[in-house]
Subunit: 185 residues, 2 copies
DNA sequence: TTAATCATGTAACACGTTACATGATTGC
DNA sequence: GCAATCATGTAACGTGTTACATGATTAA
C-alpha cells in the first residue's frame, strides 16, 4: 500500500500532476521506494475512486493537456491513519529480502573465484552507492529549501542517513566475507 | 525469479515434495526470502512446465498422497546460469525498499512523540531480531550436519552473518535518530 | 477435544514491470 | 536532425498475498 501513501504524502504538500508526482517521488522518496510512471498513473486512478483525491483537467495548447490532482479530507485522514498506525510496516521493514543473498547461499555450487568475484562486485557497487548519497543529501537540501518547514527536514535527513549506515554495514560485511574466502583458498 | 531459483537450489540437494520444500525453504532461505505455500505450489507447476523438474506421485494410505519433485538437467543448467550470471541481482540488492522509511520521511506531519515511539519500536524489534539470529545460526549448523559439504557451510554462514551486520547497523542508526529528536525537543 | 502435522491445491486480488502508443516543443 | 522534456495512459504479464477447500492421524 505504500506507493499510495507516498503519493498522498506528496500531494499533501500541494497539488500536482501525475508527471510531476513521478519526478517528485523519484527525487525524494525514490531512495527507499520505487514506482514506475505507469504504476503511478494506475494508482492515482484507484485513489481517486477511493475518494482520496480529486482531479482537474487543464487544457494547454503549447504542451499536452494535463490533469492536476488534489488531496481530499478523506485522503488526509488516510495519510494520518497510516502515519499513526501502531507498528505497521515495522515487521515488514525487519524482513530481509535479497536475491543476492540467495546466490551467496548457493555459491558452494560454483568456484571460490566466482564467489569472490560476486562479492567484490557487490562491495564496489556499495561504495559507489555510498558516494552517490552525497548527491542525494544535496537534493534533499534543495527540496527542503523550496518546501517550508524545518521540522520536516530533520526527518528527511534521518531517512537519508539510513542509507549511509546501510551501505557502510554492507561494505564491512562484504570485506569480511571476502577475507574469509581468500584465507581459505 | 528468485523463488524459482531457491527451489531449484534446494532440489539440487535432493528430491522433495512441495510440502518439504516449504519447510526447507523457511528453515534455510527463509531468512532472506519468503514464499507462501500456495505460491510454492504454483511455481513448482510452472517450473515443471519449463522442464526444470519432473514429478512422481506417491500413493500413501496412512497419510495424504504426495508428489515428489526431481530436478532435471535443464533445471541444473538454469541454476548454474543464474549462479554465474554476471552482476544479476546486485543492482536489485542495492535498492532499499522500506515502507517504514517512508513513514519516517513523512513523520513531520505528526508529533515528535509519535516519531520517537515509532523509532523506539523499530529499535526494539531490531534487537529482538538480532537475538533471534543465534537460533538461525543454530539451525544452519543443524542443516549443515545433515547435508554434507563443508564448502557449503561457509556460504551459509556468510549469508547469515549478513543479518548481524544489518541489524547492528539498524540499531545504531535508530539510536542516533532518537537522540537527534530528543535533543531537539 | 482441540491443535498440530501431513499434503495438495484453486481463485481472486494486489502490486510491480515491460512494452506499446501518441505527439508537440525546445535545446544541442 | 536527434534527443530530451512534457504528458497521458492501456495491455499483458509476473510475482506476492489471502481466503477457501479437503480430510486423516497423532500428540497434549
Amino acid at each position: 500500500m505504500s506507493l499510495k501513501h507516498g503519493l498522498l504524502g506528496l500531494l499533501n504538500y500541494g497539488d500536482m500532476t501525475g508527471y510531476e508526482l513521478d519526478k517528485a517521488f523519484n527525487a525524494s522518496l525514490g531512495f527507499f521506494w520505487q514506482g514506475k510512471m505507469s504504476q503511478i498513473y494506475r494508482e492515482l486512478g484507484v485513489m481517486e475512486r477511493h475518494g482520496w483525491l480529486t482531479s482537474e483537467r487543464v487544457i494547454q495548447d503549447d504542451k499536452p493537456n494535463k490533469k492536476i490532482y488534489h488531496i481530499t479530507d478523506s485522503g488526509k485522514d488516510e495519510l494520518q491513519n497510516w502515519l499513526a498506525a501502531p507498528e505497521s510496516d515495522i515487521s515488514d521493514a525487519m524482513r530481509i529480502k535479497s536475491a543476492f543473498l540467495m546466490r551467496v547461499f548457493f555459491a558452494g555450487e560454483t568456484s571460490t573465484e566466482q564467489a569472490v568475484k560476486m562479492l567484490t562486485e557487490f562491495r564496489d557497487e556499495c561504495i559507489e552507492a555510498l558516494e552517490g548519497l552525497e548527491t542525494t543529501s544535496g537534493s534533499i537540501a534543495e527540496y527542503g529549501a523550496r518546501i517550508t518547514g524545518e521540522e520536516r527536514i530533520i526527518y528527511w535527513q534521518i531517512a537519508s542517513s539510513f542509507g549511509e549506515s546501510y551501505y557502510r554495514a554492507m561494505i564491512d560485511w562484504t570485506e569480511k566475507a571476502i577475507a574469509v574466502l581468500e584465507g581459505r583458498a
